[in-house]
């Protein structure tokens, strides 16, 4: 049961990265791709119907964590208190800037909200990358299973790390590249004309950065937490994940040169999924690794809820997630295809 819930949470976080990832990415490349008011309105329309639904995956993953692994939830939400609050602020600012933009006619106000949207999207992505870096590297869990991380210490991994060190900053920059690539490919899929060309051109450049950062990131992870390799050594079949990473990078490159936008975007989805599956495989069965002397890793067995809770939870989770999936299918079908060029702006 614990293993099942581990993969359920991993799946939901992956869904969050793949879905909300593209609208965060669109936010990052927004100011570079779209220059005029009509272009910006079209870009916002491409994510307008779906961005808030995509964010629900994060909320749902948090909720699932809360009932399946209460110890992890309590420990992590206390230890990452300050950065989590900052994420919340950024999520608020980002949502507000998308929604309020259309309600102000003055171009200066619109420019202000455009800047806020792009800034908060980029910063959120860096934060999420750094958060992932923290989970992979491990945190100084105390004897009481709690911890507190300062924002930074000496920028080194080891017994006394901060939220930010060389590894987590690398993870943040990596996330910035991977998600802007994801977002640019989504834009290329959803728009036409100059916008599509421009998005594709930016995607080609970011693709190179992503390849470099992937090549740096994998050895860095082994360096930051050597135990990440254990599962790969024990079950060589797990090496399929890094192979899939390379394959999807290749697929993106090939389809960007010639091929359909849909396949480039799917390549990017495959890339993110295989990266995250690889990371989850490296962690399993640990949920949050400990660094330093006092701490014990928070593992599935230690954090898992009461069996009765899990049984009841599985039923309700299935009901809830089916509703969410139905909603997603309806919305994505409704808005399938390119955003029409003559459409009105995203204001309602």
């Amino acid at each position: 049961m614990g293993t099942l819930w581990f993969w359920i949470v991993a799946l939901m976080l992956t869904a969050y990265v793949v879905f909300d990832g593209f609208d965060l990415g669109v936010g990052i490349v927004y100011l570079f791709v779209a220059r005029t008011e009509t272009e910006r309105a079209r870009v916002l329309r491409s994510i307008g119907p779906v961005w808030d639904g995509n964010e629900v995956w994060l909320l749902a993953a948090g909720g699932t964590l809360f009932f399946a692994f209460p110890l992890l939830y309590a420990s992590a939400f206390s230890g990452f208190y300050l950065p989590l609050m900052m994420v919340l602020w950024l999520l608020i600012l980002r949502g507000v800037s998308i929604e309020l933009r259309g309600h102000y006619a003055d171009p200066l106000w619109r420019t202000f909200f455009d800047g806020l949207f792009s800034f908060s999207s980029a910063l959120l992505t860096i934060f999420f990358g750094a958060a992932m870096g923290n989970v992979v590297r491990g945190v100084p869990i105390g004897a009481d299973d709690y911890f507190f991380l300062p924002l930074w210490t000496n920028w080194q991994t080891g017994a006394n790390p901060g939220i930010l060190d060389w590894y987590t900053v690398l993870a943040g920059v990596f996330a910035l590249a991977a998600l802007s690539l994801h977002g640019a490919l989504y834009l290329a899929l959803k728009t036409e004309g100059d916008l599509e060309r421009c998005a594709l051109c930016i995607a080609c450049r970011i693709w190179r950065a992503t390849v470099v950062l992937t090549a740096a990131g994998i050895p860095a992870t082994v360096l930051a937490r050597p135990a990440s390799l254990n599962n790969f050594k024990g079950h060589p079949v797990a090496f399929l994940a890094p192979l899939a990473v390379i394959a999807s990078l290749g697929m993106m490159r090939y389809t960007m040169a010639k091929g359909s936008r849909l396949f480039s975007f799917l390549g990017s989805c495959g890339y993110l999924i295989s990266m995250l599956v690889g990371a989850a495989t490296g962690l399993f069965p640990v949920l949050l690794p400990a660094v330093g002397i006092a701490g014990r890793d928070i593992t599935i067995d230690r954090a898992i809820s009461d069996p009765h809770t899990l049984r009841v939870g599985l039923i309700w989770w299935s009901v809830g997630i089916s509703l969410a999936l139905m909603y997603s299918v309806i919305v994505y079908r409704q808005f399938w295809g390119k955003v029409p060029t003559d459409a009105e702006g995203y204001g309602h």
Partner: protein
């Protein structure tokens, strides 16, 4: 399709409200739980949790308050349009709908929801009721303090304006009944911030009385067909729109401060629930951050809503009073 979407929005938000209230009600009045050997409380009956009498009372009182707020905002917009002398039917429609919904919800807010909630609270959180009413000493035929300032040192109310016997009557239905004052309970069970609790409660009840009176007179005028031309009444309705927001906030403060010093009433004290690893400085920092952000957002919100109200509803896809948005 529009109707279905609107219905789903209503259904989703009211269901979501119910689960929030269920959680809060469990903290106010825990039911259907057992204590596990490792010191963790586990829910044993989902039905009991959902049908917690406290939850049903709190939910009806709270949702009724939401309708009060909505009807005040709606009638205020209607009143504004009429005062401005705008053409078209919207001013009258908004005002009529707002006042009818307002008089119904204001009545339900006091009776039965508020009344029953108070009585249930007196039974299960007597310290909270005593502190809300500023009743320091146990009394037979206790009076209700309409206004006054609780004085911690002398344990009396300064400048009191009291109606005799009313409190006993409201809680127990007879004017002679004895109401337990704060002196009946050990000091470590008193809600920790008495004056704040007293004022929140009195602001809620005072404003509630104003809402009832205002909507009552407005409904009377509507019935006699004089409402649309009574400019003094339109002014009062228009100016009253922020008050339900304040009353709702004060009501929640009453519920939450009244529960103190408990996190879960009778089971876990608030001091036991506080985080050991997040420092007070950190919490203050984020609290100030939220305050700052919400101040800015409120300003933006006021601008947006004001502009939308000014340009009016769409008629055949066109704004009836097109305005360029100016800030």
């Amino acid at each position: 399709m529009h109707w279905l979407s609107a219905f789903l929005v209503f259904f989703g938000s009211w269901i979501s409200g119910f689960f929030i209230i269920v959680t809060n009600a469990w903290m106010q009045h825990p039911v259907g739980y057992k204590l596990l050997p490792n010191g963790v409380y586990a829910v044993t009956s989902f039905t009991q949790l959902l049908l917690n009498p406290w939850a049903l009372l709190e939910y009806s009182h709270n949702m009724c308050a939401a309708v009060v707020t909505a009807s005040f905002v709606m009638s205020a917009v209607g009143a504004l349009y009429l005062l401005q002398g705008r053409e078209g039917p919207y001013g009258r429609i908004f005002l009529k709908l707002g006042v009818i919904a307002g008089i119904i919800s204001c009545t339900l807010q006091v009776f039965p929801t508020g009344d029953l909630h108070g009585k249930y609270m007196a039974k299960n959180q007597p310290t909270a009721i005593a502190a809300m009413e500023g009743l320091f000493h146990t009394e037979k035929g206790a009076g209700m303090v309409l206004m006054g300032q609780p004085n911690y040192e002398t344990e009396t109310i300064d400048n009191p304006l009291v109606v005799n016997n009313v409190l006993s009557f409201l809680i127990y239905g007879t004017t002679a009944a004895e109401v337990e004052g704060l002196d009946h309970f050990p000091r470590d069970q008193w809600p920790s911030t008495l004056p704040l609790l007293f004022y929140s409660y009195h602001i809620m009840v005072g404003l509630g009385t104003w809402f009832g009176a205002l909507m009552g007179i407005a409904a009377l005028l509507l019935w006699r067909g004089k409402l649309y031309s009574s400019r003094w009444m339109l002014w009062l309705i228009m100016l009253s729109w922020p008050l339900p927001h304040i009353a709702t906030t004060a009501g929640w403060m009453t519920a939450e401060i009244g529960r103190q010093p408990w996190l879960v009433h009778g089971l876990i004290r608030t001091a036991q629930g506080s985080s050991t690893h997040v420092s007070a400085g950190n919490s203050l920092f984020t609290l100030l951050g939220f305050l700052g952000m919400y101040t800015v957002l409120s300003l933006l919100w006021v601008i947006v809503v004001y502009n939308h109200i000014r340009s009016g509803p769409l008629v055949n896809g066109q704004a009836a009073h097109p305005q360029t948005v100016t800030v």
